[in-house]
């Protein structure tokens, strides 16, 4: 029935997002961009794309940071305009898409509070998508306890905070662990929203995407905590678990893994990640992230194959983020004269 009723509220926005997705840069564009000699050359190429409007007011020697800001402004503008036109379930869904930024921002503020920094200064450094209504009131806060209370009252993240951390944890736990706990709670909640409350096509598409996100976090946390003092049970605690993700068996093994070998053994049980892991090992040098990104882009592209679901909104903003990453990468490579690396981006389409 999605087919028949979806378009009443969301047909227009879905089509808009698909149109925007069609104007994302393609492989060929990246090849052209990688040939540039300076960021100014990039501007001439980008002028013919959607970014032309955004870049035209930038002063002449285009800086990487300015480029990044332009791209980010565009992402924020796109998001806000779509969020502004959306109706109930979609608007909730889109809010959920911003929660990761919100988590990042709150962790940043938390760190500021712990270090007695001036929060109004930090507010400028927050990601614009992660801002929420009450965030301005947070600047008047001086102690972690107050922050905790304000978060519980003011932010949409309150349930996650209530679930994962209590007041004492704010000061005692490592902020990175808090961040990952929050992210875990967020993923679980997002999964529930998509599969149980929205359901239908959205549920089935988003289940795949969220499961991948969860799996990626599980593997990353395992790999990155191998040489740290993070305890095994803490590690298990950080693993986000959603149905459709990695098997219990694999998760248990990853939780126990001590070295890269054990991780590889555990992932050997999953056909998807075995392939990714092997390919990453062949390419060498930290390309596992690249492999993940490539795989994610593939999933996101596939989500566009189905119609009448919310996954396209999620997918589009992830793709746009990837595009921003790619463009900044190329711009940085060009500024630093590392031309050979400029073409090493993960194309979206």
């Amino acid at each position: 029935m999605d087919m028949l009723t979806f378009n009443a509220d969301n047909g227009y926005l879905e089509a808009v997002v698909r149109g925007l997705k069609a104007s994302l840069l393609r492989r060929q564009d990246y090849t052209n961009l990688a040939q540039c000699e300076s960021p100014e050359d990039m501007r001439t190429i980008l002028n013919s794309s959607d970014y032309g409007l955004w870049l035209q007011n930038e002063p002449a020697p285009l800086q990487t940071q300015a480029l990044y800001d332009c791209l980010m402004n565009r992402l924020v503008y796109d998001f806000r305009s779509i969020r502004g036109q959306s109706y109930a379930p979609l608007s909730t869904f889109l809010d959920y898409v911003t929660y990761p930024y919100m988590i990042d921002n709150l962790v940043l503020l938390l760190m500021g509070v712990l270090r007695n920094r001036d929060l109004s200064e930090l507010l400028d450094k927050c990601h614009p998508l992660g801002l929420f209504e009450g965030i301005a009131t947070l600047t008047a806060i001086h102690s972690p306890e107050e922050l905790y209370r304000e978060i519980l009252v003011d932010t949409p993240l309150a349930p996650y905070f209530a679930e994962c951390v209590n007041v004492h944890d704010l000061t005692e736990m490592n902020v990175e662990i808090i961040r990952n706990l929050l992210y875990k709670a967020y993923l679980t909640d997002f999964y529930q929203l998509c599969v149980e409350r929205i359901g239908g096509m959205t549920g089935s598409i988003m289940a795949t995407l969220i499961a991948f996100e969860a799996d990626r976090r599980v593997i990353n946390i395992t790999l990155n905590s191998l040489e740290t003092s993070l305890r095994k049970d803490e590690r298990m605690m950080l693993f986000p678990r959603v149905p459709g993700g990695l098997d219990d068996e694999i998760i248990q093994r990853l939780g126990r893994a001590d070295d890269l070998q054990a991780v590889a053994m555990a992932l050997d049980l999953s056909s998807t990640y075995r392939a990714l892991f092997q390919r990453a090992a062949e390419r060498g040098e930290y390309s596992l992230e690249d492999q993940f990104l490539e795989f994610e882009m593939k999933l996101l592209r596939e989500s566009f194959d189905a119609q009448f679901h919310y996954g396209v909104f999620y997918a589009y903003f992830r793709m746009l983020e990837q595009e921003i990453r790619n463009l900044t990468w190329i711009a940085e490579c060009i500024t630093q004269k590392q031309f050979a690396h400029a073409s090493r981006v993960v194309p979206i389409l």
């Binding site: 028949l4 378009n7 047909g11 879905e14 089509a15 808009v16 698909r18 149109g19 069609a22 119609q307």
Partner: protein, 195 residues
């Protein structure tokens, strides 16, 4: 119009006869054939317009959205909207044809021909209405996808149009059958030339 109690009918068949429906059968007996006839006409046009309208909003909202990034698709994809519109036109044609079969009540309502006419127009209206409703939905969904696909890839439109044409043809089947059914029906005086 089975002869009443002609033979011990097969039990399976008995429920078709209004006489065998007990009180419900009597209800149908009591309802005027004109009521059936006009409800048939109303179903024909109403369901058709519902289908068309539904199809148009499915197609239309996608078309409007997609045309922001690809304005070139608007004129071509108006075809999808026109196909949906055609469904409503089928409904109107069928309704007009059906309505012309109905005249003033010059004979008794219990007249079997009149009764036949009432049921026939009711059935025709249902056939036309439902087939056009689903046709409209189908054209709407395909039209919406077609608009989105065309926005991504300009070469694909003509191929997708064929899908839409087939979807649109579904409504035509209903109209044809409906017209055939209603052509047998005659109600009332002026239109009683067929007797």
């Amino acid at each position: 119009m089975q002869p009443n109690g002609a033979a011990p009918l097969n039990c399976l068949w008995r429920w078709v006869l209004p006489e065998c429906w007990g009180p419900l059968g009597i209800l149908f007996e009591q309802i005027s054939p004109y009521w059936f006839a006009y409800v048939g006409v109303a179903l024909a046009i109403g369901l058709s317009v519902l289908g068309a309208a539904w199809g148009i909003f499915i197609t239309g909202s996608s078309l409007v959205g997609a045309s922001i990034q690809a304005p070139r698709i608007t004129s071509k994809n108006l075809v999808s909207v026109i196909f949906c519109e055609a469904v409503a036109i089928y409904g109107i044609i069928a309704a007009i044809v059906m309505a012309t079969r109905i005249g003033y009540a010059s004979v008794a309502e219990s007249d079997p021909v009149t009764k036949f006419g009432g049921y026939a127009l009711f059935a025709a209206g249902l056939v036309v209405g439902l087939s056009n409703l689903f046709c409209g939905l189908s054209v709407g969904v395909t039209g919406s996808s077609c608009a989105l696909a065309d926005a991504q890839d300009a070469t694909i439109f003509v191929k997708l149009l064929i899908v839409e044409i087939f979807a649109s043809a579904l409504g035509l089947f209903g109209v044809i059958v409906g017209i055939i059914i209603s052509s047998k029906a005659t109600l009332g005086g002026d239109a009683s030339a067929g007797r």
